[in-house]
Amino acid sequence: MRYIRVGAGSAYWGDMLDPAVELAEKGDVQYLGFDHLAELTMAILQRMKRRDASKGYIPDIVPWMKALLPTTSRKGIKILTNAGGANPVQAGLEVIKVARDLKLTGFKVGVVEGDDILHRLDDIRAQGWRFTNLDTGEEDIDSIHDRIVSANVYIGADELIRALEQGADVVVAGRCSDNALYVAPIMHEFGWQFDHPAYVDKIASAITVGHIVECTLGCTGGMSNLWPIVKDSHRIGFPIAEVYENGDAVITKVEGSGGLVCEWTVKEHLLYEVHDPSSYIMPDGIADFTTLTLMEESPNRVRVRGVKGKTRPDTLKVCIGYEDGFIGEGVIFFPWPQALDKARWAEKWLKERIDYMGVQPKELRIDYVGINMLAGGTARWPENGNGMNEVGLRVTARTSTYREADAIRREVTHLWLAGPIGTSFGVPFTPRPVVALWPTLVPREMVKTTSFVMEVM
């Protein structure tokens, strides 16, 4: 039966490059997907673009393409990436430059636009749509209207497919769903159509495959419960989905690479960042993860079969980013003897000091590093805290202004000298602006996506 092999080359902005190069060189893949965007990233990129109109894409796209194109162009491997971020056109031009430097005449770069609706929000509202906050239930964006910095729709595979149809060797998108980077090549190769009953389950299968591999080593032994026995993790392999025309898929990795693909590592990622597993909603369809079976075929090969699904939703998810004050942060450590008592003393000192200086944070949080920073209210406090080698105190505060965030940060640094004997500190942080997210929906028909293809002459 016909199949294609699709590799996952990036899970986030800053992921490893060498396993992606390994996929291109040794993975026997026809397509590579690269996800570089998290929920917050679009707001950061919009800010970069506002400062400099020629920026706003993921800068890694340049070194990544330099490392990959010599191999992918020779082998005919196609690349799909959302590194376009807030500026897919410029990112596309950057890829063209790299291809031109490599003298790849005839090399084609597709660009997908239309996910950015920052300047269309009021227009869409004027047509009667309300951007209700999915988390809080707030009915519309009036309360944040003046502070909005980004608004991006998680678009689906349609325009990516169109770019592939036009012969693109690299497809650069902005905020397409991570998932669409994998659904697009699969649908393109097998000719599966949206909104057609024969393909609904198959597309759901492609969505499931995309979900399993999109976080790269999330399914090959990274973040794993089996960490003590995962081999050669320092040269861990990124995943490959071998997708068959009937919708079956085998999850695997480059032969001989480190890491592990087994029933458990695939399950680990199936469960990751999912809400109702019977209804995993993506722009390209809805997958029911409760219908599938997993089967280990041989070492590092797991077959996924039997995914059922529903046709794609009428609304698309939108993330609206808005400015929401600042965070000031500081960390200090206290050594034995009486490490825990010293930390407690410092907490009291800080609270009194903040009050004394008249600083009013909107929220103040104090973590005891090594005791409750992760475990929070469930933490079991040590019976002999004063016998501990060291205890850290992490202080964070949310404030309305930069000045207040800086004031909190400074008070932590004042403990360097004002604190108990042995008080230690590292390099101080600078206050950071907060971009909060307003998750909401928009009707599919109100989002106009487009694509075009450029060519190296």
Partner: protein
């Protein structure tokens, strides 16, 4: 005879975030463990275990096909990754935190879970 053990004896985990919502996957180490998980891990108990860490509701979705539970914790990340004061902004540790919740199991169930884990670690050591 029944014994009280941490959930870690019976389940593996992975957790993450979507906005202010944290999702915790629990994978039963063996088929018997899955039945125990379904019985012992209830929204009420999970909510009580997390105390003030989970401000919203807890929902649990069973996945009989892969012997797993998807546990959804609403308003559990102090506002979500971009604005939270939590060090663990994206809830990666929340699964491990939940593994410390105590559940009541038959000694036989505990034994089965321990043997299952041992077999899993042995099986993949040479892959």
């Amino acid at each position: 005879m029944k014994v009280r053990v941490p959930l870690a004896e019976l389940a593996f985990t992975r957790s993450g975030d979507k906005g202010d919502r944290c999702n915790v996957g629990l994978m039963a180490k063996c088929p018997t463990c899955y039945e125990t998980l379904k019985r012992e891990v209830t929204p009420e108990r999970v909510k009580a275990f997390f105390k003030d860490m989970v401000k919203g509701q807890v929902h649990i979705y069973p996945m009989d096909n892969i012997h797993s539970l998807e546990v959804i914790l609403d308003n559990a990340l102090e506002g979500g990754a971009t604005r939270t004061l939590r060090f663990d902004q994206t809830g990666k540790s929340m699964g491990c935190v939940l593994l410390r919740m105590e559940i009541e199991v038959e000694e036989g169930e505990l034994q089965a879970a321990r043997e299952a884990e041992k077999a899993i670690m042995e099986k993949y050591r040479d892959w």
